[in-house]
């Protein structure tokens, strides 16, 4: 797994913390700016032996335009390496991504052991643009190592996630 983080994204929302992740097998790239981050992502996407590429970019940098996202999407389709571009605190502007999601946090599920404690994490996911599938809205929860759909919808958006998926 290649996880590319832009410097601003690290400052704003923290660095990847491997003890909190299910797999330690990742390569972390700290990019100086969005241009470097996109370049690193593209290099990663071209490499078929990676399981996935995750990129995090803060805001709406100039380098992140339609061409850049489209290049990523095409490269990803060619090599078969899935690629997610996570945009923190940005606007849903033009993008060449195949699927675009808007993800927000949602109140967690009930904790069976302690009613006051946070339970399994949950999110509100809105698929607002996708090729070949109608947009929709789901509530997702992650419990016991698996994702499943939960019924209750969330109430407000934390940030915007755009998802590039091949």
């Amino acid at each position: 797994l290649l996880w590319v983080q832009e410097r601003m994204a690290i400052l704003e929302s923290g660095r990847v913390h491997p003890p909190g992740l299910p797999s330690q097998n990742l390569i972390h790239v700290e990019a100086r700016d969005a241009r470097d981050a996109l370049w690193a992502m593209e290099e990663g996407v071209r490499c078929a032996s990676l399981s996935a590429v995750i990129g995090e970019i803060w805001g709406d940098p100039r380098a992140l335009d339609f061409t850049a996202t489209r290049r990523l999407a095409v490269a990803s389709e060619r090599s078969g390496t899935p690629c997610w571009l996570v945009r923190l605190g940005g606007h849903a502007n033009l993008s060449g991504a195949r699927m675009r999601w808007r993800i927000a946090s949602a109140p967690s599920l009930l904790n069976d052991l302690d009613a006051k404690a946070p339970g399994a994490p949950a999110w509100d996911a809105e698929l607002f643009r996708a090729r070949g599938s109608p947009p929709g809205r789901w509530s997702i929860a992650h419990e016991a190592g698996r994702f499943h759909l939960a019924a209750a919808p969330g109430d407000r958006a934390l940030g915007e996630g755009q998802r590039l998926s091949a």
């Binding site: 290649l2 690290i10 400052l11 929302s13 923290g14 660095r15 990847v16 913390h17 491997p18 003890p19 909190g20 992740l21 299910p22 797999s23 330690q24 097998n25 990742l26 390569i27 972390h28 790239v29 700290e30 990019a31 100086r32 470097d36 370049w39 690193a40 290099e43 990663g44 490499c47 078929a48 032996s49 990676l50 927000a104 946090s105 949602a106 109140p107 967690s108 904790n111 302690d114 006051k116 404690a117 946070p118 994490p121 949950a122 999110w123 190592g145 969330g154 109430d155 407000r156 934390l158």
Partner: protein
């Protein structure tokens, strides 16, 4: 005690020439070198020696004695190359071998001799091996290098190995090495010098030229009547030192021979790093020069790597400018590689950044760090293996972004969250991981390498997926100082805490941190919109380590 073996190859030049050209030793052949007053005889065959030719004489003089002499130009460079090769080969006896002059070697054989059955066994082994390749040797072992040299060259009963003696394998060369008339036949009966007294005894009768002084000094000494080392030793040191100063350091030479002054051996250099050179006809001052040179250097270097079954881990491109300065660009790779395309891609950017200033007139590409890489088939179809593909990706990212920005996690032994997740540069860790994976594969399918053991699934739930580089101070409103937080302000936003879990107490590591470090109580909190944070309170009220506890936010949950 130190023991040094000196090997002298007295007839190296003529033996090499005769062997290369298949000349019979009866032929009266002399090898000549250019001297100040015409050709000087460098080496002679046995037959030529019998007819009056000797090394050091002028060719015309020798021709006057015997007009039938055949003169052939000598090849000192070839001889020197042979001695270099022999020095490497002599590594079979001792790891520390030094080329000594134009036709000698010296070996540090301290503590080595027992492997060959004592010093006598060692000497006879050396002589036998050299005889097999058709070279006459005179070998001596002494406590100092200078004494060994003196004994090998001047001892009246040298430990001489005759290339032409009965030990030789090939009869054809039999007569070749038994010339010129050696002073004495080989005898191993004399004791090898042991200790300083034995050394003095052995050296005393030798002529002063055994001290390797320059000819003028020797002539002066002879005029003074000091013909042997023994006579020299009887002269008071002070008088000697006063008479012979500077270059003609007689006392120094004597001290080196007797071991009063150290004379360390320097090993012959190991195999030089693979290196490709490109000299330009005229200086190139345009910026693309380095990239173009790279295109011609890489195939050359790759060929060298291939011949030696090596793969490059670190490459350096040196651009030599006309004004004598040098520009360097270097890259490292995650796994050893000698694939021209990959290496070219890595170096391309850095090479283009080299500033020609007044112009480059030469380039050198050196593989400074290499690892064994046996010839392997890439793959049957154009589908490179995953590990190599990954290594190349890491190489490219590292070259562009720098090794500190491309990293892999490495678990550390620490309770503190920010210390538990260490990072190592991917370039250095990937090769290691590959090594371990290979090792695991060799051992069997049951053991497999998957990085550090993953944390327990329960433990993982309590660790955030993201950690802020520096914990940020927050303002917290709480019901009771020791109780749960109710509300906090982070980055000027108020977060109402809807749910909270904790505390998880992490004590300071007293064995690393100063005693003023305070403990931390971590809480997992969720605000009213469902965002989950990891906050902690540093210290307790009245713990005696500072004032009121302060609150920090440290991590975010996905």
């Amino acid at each position: 005690m130190k023991r040094v073996a000196s090997i002298w190859l007295p007839h190296l030049a003529i033996e090499r020439w005769a062997k290369d050209n298949g000349y019979p030793p009866e032929a009266p052949v002399v090898l000549t070198v250019e001297g100040t007053h015409g050709l000087i005889i460098h080496a002679v065959t046995k037959a030529a020696a019998e007819r009056g030719a000797r090394a050091g004489a002028r060719l015309t003089d020798a021709r006057a004695l015997d007009p039938a002499l055949v003169a052939v130009p000598a090849d000192p460079a070839g001889d020197a190359a042979l001695v270099e090769r022999l020095a490497k080969w002599a590594g079979r006896w001792s790891p520390l071998v030094e080329v000594d002059g134009s036709n000698g070697l010296r070996l540090d054989v301290s503590g080595v001799a027992h492997l060959f059955g004592g010093e006598r066994g060692l000497v006879s082994d050396i002589q036998q091996r050299f005889a097999h390749i058709g070279l006459t040797t005179r070998v001596a072992i002494a406590p100092t290098a200078a004494a060994a040299w003196a004994l090998a060259h001047f001892s009246p009963s040298p430990l001489e190995g005759e290339g032409g003696s009965s030990r030789r394998l090939r009869k054809g060369e039999g007569a070749l090495s038994s010339f010129p008339p050696s002073p004495r036949s080989a005898s191993l009966s004399r004791a090898l010098p042991q200790g300083e007294r034995g050394l003095v005894e052995q050296l005393s009768p030798l002529h002063v030229s055994a001290l390797r002084l320059d000819p003028d000094t020797i002539r002066t000494l002879e005029r003074l009547g000091l013909k042997t080392i023994g006579a020299l030793m009887e002269v008071p040191r002070l008088a000697l030192a006063r008479r012979f100063k500077g270059e003609e350091d007689v006392v120094g030479a004597l001290d080196r021979a007797l071991g009063r002054k150290p004379e360390p051996l320097t090993a012959a250099p190991a195999d030089p790093a693979p290196r490709a050179l490109l000299k330009l006809e005229e200086p190139a001052a345009y910026p693309e020069a380095a990239s173009q040179a790279l295109g011609r250097l890489i195939p050359d270097l790759v060929r060298q790597l291939q011949e030696r079954h090596l793969g490059a881990r670190r490459l350096s491109l040196h651009g030599f400018r006309v004004d004598g300065s040098v520009a360097v660009a270097s890259v490292s790779t995650a796994i050893a590689s000698r694939e021209p395309k990959h290496l070219a891609r890595l170096l391309a950017d850095k090479a283009a950044a080299l500033d020609p200033e007044f112009g480059f007139d030469a380039f050198a590409l050196t593989a400074e760090w290499t690892e064994d890489l046996s010839a392997a088939q890439e793959s049957l179809v154009e589908e490179p293996s995953g590990e190599r593909e990954l290594a190349r990706l890491v190489d490219r990212l590292t070259v562009k972004l720098g090794p500190k920005r491309v990293r892999r996690p490495q678990a550390e032994e620490s309770h503190l969250p920010e210390k538990a997740s260490g990072w190592v540069s991917a370039v250095s860790s990937l090769a290691f991981a590959g090594e371990v994976a290979r090792e695991a594969r060799r051992r069997g399918p049951s053991t497999s390498f998957a990085g550090p053991p993953p944390l327990e699934i329960e433990g993982r739930r309590f660790r955030p997926q993201r950690l802020l580089d520096r914990a940020e101070a927050i303002d917290v409103i709480y019901a009771t100082p020791e109780g749960m937080p109710r509300r906090f302000i982070w980055r000027r936003t108020v977060h109402d805490i809807a749910r909270v879990e904790g505390p998880e107490r992490i004590a300071p590591e007293w064995w690393r941190q100063p005693s003023s470090a305070r403990l931390r109580d971590y809480y997992r909190v969720e605000d009213s919109t469902g965002r989950r944070y990891w906050i902690y309170r540093e210290g307790l009220i009245g713990d005696g380590r500072g004032g009121a506890p302060s609150w920090f936010i440290h991590g975010l949950f996905g």
